[in-house]
Symmetry: C2
Subunit: 334 residues, 2 copies
């Protein structure tokens, strides 16, 4: 099962690589889809090498994993910057009362709430006063600043990814994955080994990490924990987020191990929990991006104000995502 | 019962007035307590005149109510500015990770959350970097700006209240309330009238107003409805808040009517619901004060950023208060 799983991922990887080469850069959507598929396979191969490492040739597995991590990381940045910008601009519009929030952005209630408010008095319908221009300018300038910063970062990430895909280092990784499609280098211990043991160990690491999360707090709505450092001096990632990011990684390892065992995608609940933690990470990174942008020298106070509101809004998204994860994990109705 | 209730409130009013005169201005705490008691009695007399107006001498009641409204309003401002400042400074400290949140400020979970975070990495313990001063300065400057603005407003309100208490207009109101301690001017319809009918009508007005609230949205945690105009151009009170403020007033009328009927303070649940709506109003006004302060000309971007975070934080308090009211109203566990 283990060898078959790795072979399938390897085939997927090679198919995505071919699709990427055929798209040539002339079809951005196809190219982005191919990159996504490359990352998807690379993540699964890497996770499987990690969870089932006693059953695999040690030297081979330990040589390949850092290369896969480098590849996934390099390929992820472009998409991350693009979706961060989209998330922040969407939030800026929502906070200006300008557009209804699309249902995909949050819980069902959010859409309803946005509509309810629109009916009661929408910013776009408010009479134009002397202040109107002022703050609309603040939100617009904040949007333009974020657009400049994140588009620049995205362009750089795009170049870096293209360079990586043309590099000798990448070709070496691709060659090793191609070999995998033929034969998986198993260890002597693999013969007759019970795959369920390493999979159970992965699940246990996840369960332990979840047990260490402040889930009691997260389950109380409006606990105000996520914004507790909203004005703290450090823009580096907030220490309180790290255990949640760690659980996200362990949850993925558990999901992939389940895929190896069952030969099918993991249950919906695990996928939903993964999505909640991805939302947690995306909102945390978006909040940090807003805080960083606010340190741009010589910005207008109205711009800084809008970025402050935006930062706090995204930190509340962080809190909302923790609440959602708490409910999914304990199988509670929402 | 109606006459007895009004006589008791009148006696309370006169006692508070005497206490205020005796405090003389030399004892700020006793003076503030006396003003609070004056407002408390005036609110109840005014509410009772409104709810039971068919049973009272029309001309007398309709002449007294606007005077009581003027008095309550004038006396309320000083306390409102003081507590708004306290709320905002407390929030600024909480957002800087500087102090644990006192339990009184929110649900129990909030305290726990704040403590949990403190253990994981508190802003005060973070290594001092080049950015540290910057944002600490932002929060400090925002605090100083709010302190200046709200202390000025408070001082003005204090003078206005003192002037009002020395005015002929106030003495006329006090005289009319003093008369009430002797004889309550009832209408001919009062003899044998059923007090439960006007009280039921007051309750019905409350129930209707609650039914018109967007309680379904409010009951979904993290619905993001309260901040939907966080960057809207208008700093005037948000239209979405008005129905909640209205329910707060109707809830008080209902509470006072219950007091008239039962001769005892209203049930705990009504009081808790009143507190949730008061928190809603206080947070909404604090959010508006932060937004207004951000329009001060020539403030530093770091100050404006801190005020933006603060505004969003208080709008989430608004949302949290609505959630709390929803649960209290539907008698749900929290």
């Amino acid at each position: 099962m283990l060898a078959a799983y790795l072979r399938e991922r390897s085939t997927e990887f090679l198919r995505a690589l071919r699709a990427h080469r055929e798209s040539g850069g002339g079809a951005p959507e196809e190219s982005a889809e191919a990159v996504r598929a490359l990352r998807r396979s690379a993540r699964r191969i890497s996770g499987t090498l990690h969870t089932f490492r006693p059953l695999l040739d040690t030297e081979w597995a330990e040589g390949l994993r850092p290369e896969l991590a480098w590849l996934s990381g390099t390929l992820a940045h472009e998409h991350a910057h693009a979706s961060r910008l989209e998330r922040l601009l969407l939030a800026l519009h929502r906070l200006s009362g300008a557009v209804p929030v699309p249902a995909a952005a949050g819980v069902g209630a959010r859409e309803e709430g946005a509509r309810g408010n629109g009916a009661r008095g929408n910013g776009a319908d408010a009479p134009a006063g002397p202040d109107r221009t002022n703050l609309t300018v603040g939100a617009a300038k904040a949007g333009a600043l974020l657009d400049r910063r994140l588009t620049l970062a995205r362009t750089r990430a795009h170049s870096t990814a293209l360079e990586a895909l043309g590099s000798g280092r990448f070709h070496a990784v691709a060659d090793r994955i191609a070999l995998l499609a033929g034969e998986v280098p198993l260890s002597p211990a693999a013969a007759g080994a019970d795959l369920r043991l390493p999979a159970a160990a992965a699940e246990e690491r996840l369960t332990d990490a979840v047990a260490a999360l402040p889930l009691l707090t997260a389950g109380h709505p409006y606990n105000a924990a996520a914004l507790v450092h909203g004005l703290a001096p450090d823009t580096s990632p907030q220490p309180q987020d790290a255990p949640w990011h760690q659980v996200r990684l362990l949850l993925r390892l558990h999901r992939y191990a389940r895929e190896v065992l069952t030969g099918a995608p993991a249950e919906t609940r695990l996928e939903a929990a993964d999505q909640a933690l991805t939302r947690h990470r995306d909102a945390a990174e978006a909040a940090a991006a807003a805080a960083e942008a606010a340190r741009t020298p010589r910005i207008a106070p109205a711009t800084a104000y809008a970025l402050g509101v935006l930062h706090a809004d995204q930190r509340h998204e962080v809190e909302a995502a923790r609440f959602a994860f708490h409910h999914l994990w304990h199988r509670l109705p929402r």
